[in-house]
Amino acid sequence: MISWAVLAALVLFSAVTYALGRRKLTAQAAGQGRDRAHSRPGYHGAYVMLWVAVPAAAVLLLHGAFGGRIAAAAVQAEKPAAVAALTPQQRMVFYDDVQSTVVGRTPSEIIYAPDVREALDAEAREAVRIEMGLRLAAVAAALVLAVAGFVFSYRRVRPEFRARQHVEGWTAVLLFACSAAAILTTVGIVASLAFESFRFFQAVPPHQFLFGLDWDPQIAMRSDQFATSGAFGAVPLFVGTFLIMLIAMVVAAPIGLLSAIYLAEYASRPTRAVVKPLLEVLAGVPTVVYGFFAALTVGPLFRSTFNAIGAQLLGGPFHELGLYLSQVQNQMALVAGAVMGIMLIPFVSSLSDDIINAVPQSLRDGSLAMGATPSETIKKVVMPAALPGIVAALLLAVSRAIGETMIVTMAAGLQAKTTLNPLDTVTTVTVQIVTLLTGDQEFDSPKTLSAFGLGLTLFVITLILNVIALRIVQKYREQYD
């Protein structure tokens, strides 16, 4: 990485060139009286500075982003014999250790054979040399570009020079680049997910993934074996996700909608002024906190309640049920679903509030003037008018529930079970993604790649829900604006 000193030098140099550009123009434009410069001095300074700073910064940025890979590739290009004899897996660990040695981190605890140990030190020295060289090259290139840029732009500073247009041109390019960042993000998401999933689907066929009923992601112990012993059927995950989402919506939809209706139609201004911020607080609580709450408060509470009920039923006509209830676990789907529902209440409420307030007052007036009560007006006029928007809000809440990670990771289980019983322990797509990627796994195994397959599925489904919801909201808004 480039040191702070280099960055500071670049900034300083840019500032100096800015000042120089300004001064040149001021000097030249002075004493010209009516024949004033096209642009103010600041623009000329900025013009020079841009030509100095931007190319140099671009080089440094490229070095920062890709330098590591280029260096690694160069180091690995010529391997000493001892290293070439290693298996690909061992080689990867070896080069990781080389990198750790260079950076000063503690390497892995593998005991290497003496010749490999020697090779490690040699490669480490080589790596240091290459990185130094690359760094020097980058700084030199940046310097050259900066100076060249200065020479080129300084010469053009003249009163007739339309510096402002050029600077504004740069600005437009910068602005456009920034909005391109948003597009690139989407492209990045889709591309990375698709690419890694493609590799996964080469090992596990898509229909087995999408329709298989057995989720048991194991990899073989030997590195050259494929996932012959694992099963990657994701249906239990989909069912688990669906179950928890359903429970969450059963909690969030009625409470969220009713509170939105009350706040929008009945509540007085002071009430609204107090309750709405409090609901915002509920919305702002991080999901990890909800997860903690679910795991350490709600889980034990529900479990002990059900166990107690079960104990009561033992020996009676519902003995079977009692036996089942006294054995339910902390991680039942009901717990994660209920807490997720609580988390979604303010989301549903605030979206619904916006939708309900968008219904024109003239409709309410028309109904009230006919002698309808406020609740009749709401039930028969306002809600039917708001229905598309409400449906969209609920779809967005469903999408949120499906994509939620922390609550389920901390409160739901790891067993993949295809069941709709809320008292059962299930696992979801997001939990599996976390579990698969937070172990000590090498990156390429089908096990870790399956996380990307799951991620792609999740992305596609939430995307579809969101697109539908946003289209509905757009059409609804057009109706009333």
Binding site: S179, A182, L458
Partner: protein, 433 residues
């Protein structure tokens, strides 16, 4: 136009009135019930909030009081080698010192001292080691060290250990409890505000674990997120709102951004893993990579918030600026953007507050490892507060539970401060056009 054969209007007013009146009672009852449902819903939501926060505070506040022990320890020269102080067993020396105070001696197998060491934090031993390393002349003298009691002992002093339960069901047996009481009566135990929770980083021992490392990690990460997402987001919004021609491409971009804002955060984590860590080799578990991932996640929110702020500035401002000869760029940057600043800043602060609480994407980029120190730079291994909460929640020891709740309290305090700042900013600088 009207049909003459129709019965005259208001033909049976009396009959109609009684029909209406008959139904009125039921309708009024339905009205009252409906209102109650609304009130119930709001009460339920607020109750959940109260229970959630109440539980967290009640579980966590005990962390902020800790119990410390002061022990004068004789640094026996026979047991410490001045050339290699690390070889000595300082924990045993501390235990012997305490045993002496209790008037007991160690047995041949060392089980007594072992039992006692379960009550003493290894921090005492580390302090001695540091002192001896700094000044070897201390060997042979008696040095007093003060440090926290071990987690289970601390729980006992806070009254969280059930002394009446059967001995095998407890973490502390009767002998250990008797020792603790004696030490307390000897005045060797003091309690006070637990500053070490806020000044220390993570540790395997609960009584030595603190949130400083996580706080610094969060701060560094938020810095990266803010420096990336706010400028890029604001400038992107400026382009889309003020400069871009209104055609099919821009509406596609707009739909795109709205969708990005609703993508689950874990997908951004996957993106970070695939692109930043694997392709661009950004150091795993660093504030840099965490900041990059969360910057991408916050970008759509900042863009949307900035666009609303820009839309709220009336067109007359732009027209006035253009009218005096300003260029498009000058109009936007000298006139429109400054007026939209309060809304932009509010949106930026709120998106950063949201990023502070994010956990899932950071788990994907490796921030879930145990990080014992304070991260010194952007490329070092670090953790953030919400991930720290996640890590501690998985720990089985009871003492970690109270610390998890306390860490949540710290996190919530930061978030409340940021949200309040955003609200105050909005109130203070909002303009009503």
């Amino acid at each position: 136009m009207t049909d003459a054969a129709l019965p005259p209007a208001g033909a049976q007013p009396a009959l109609q009135r009684s029909a209406i009146e008959a139904r009125l009672k039921a309708r009024r009852a339905r009205e009252a019930r409906f209102r109650w449902y609304g009130r119930l819903a709001i009460t339920a939501a607020l109750l959940f909030l109260a229970v959630l926060l109440g539980r967290i505070v009640s579980q966590g506040y005990t962390t902020f009081v800790d119990y410390r022990m002061s022990v004068p320890v004789y640094l026996d020269p026979a047991r410490i080698d001045p050339t290699d102080p690390t070889g000595a067993n300082y924990d045993l020396m501390v235990a012997d010192a305490v045993l002496a105070k209790l008037g007991e001696t160690d047995d041949a197998l060392g089980t007594t001292s072992g039992k006692l060491m379960a009550l003493l934090s290894t921090d005492l031993g580390f302090q001695l080691l540091d002192k001896v390393r700094a000044d070897p002349r201390l060997i042979g003298q008696t040095v007093t060290v003060t440090g926290p009691v071990r987690a289970d002992a601390s729980l006992y002093f806070k009254g969280l250990v059930d002394a009446s339960a059967a001995e095998t069901d407890r973490k502390l047996d009767d002998r250990q409890i008797a020792w603790l009481e004696k030490l307390r009566s000897l005045g060797m135990v003091s309690s006070g505000f637990n500053t070490s929770f806020l000044t220390r980083s993570d540790s395997t021992e609960p009584e030595q674990a603190g949130v400083l490392g996580a706080v610094v990690g969060s701060a560094l990460m938020l810095l990266v997120t803010g420096l990336l997402s706010v400028p890029i987001g604001v400038l992107a919004a400026v382009y889309l709102e003020e400069f871009a021609p209104k055609n099919r491409w821009t509406s596609i971009i707009e739909v795109n951004i709205n969708n990005l804002a609703a993508v689950p955060s874990i997908v951004y984590g996957l993106l970070g893993l695939a692109v930043f860590i694997n392709w661009l080799a950004v150091p795993r578990s660093s504030p840099l990579v965490g900041g990059l991932v969360l910057a991408l996640m916050s970008l759509p929110t900042v863009i949307i918030a900035t666009r609303s702020a820009l839309k709220a500035v009336p067109p007359s401002i732009r027209e006035a600026a253009l009218g005096v000869g300003a260029s498009r760029t000058q109009t936007v940057f000298h006139h429109v953007l400054p007026l939209a600043m309060p809304g932009v800043m509010t949106g930026a602060i709120l998106s950063l507050a949201h990023a502070l609480g994010e956990t899932a994407p950071l788990l994907m980029v490796g921030m879930v490892s145990f990080v014992p120190g304070v991260p010194a730079g952007f490329t070092e291994s670090a953790t953030v507060l919400p991930v720290q909460v996640f890590i501690w929640e998985n720990a089985s020891e009871r003492a970690f539970h109270e610390r998890t709740a306390a860490a949540i309290m710290v996190l919530l305090v930061f978030m409340i401060v940021m949200n309040l700042a955003a609200i105050l900013l909005r109130r203070r600088f909002e303009r009503r056009w």
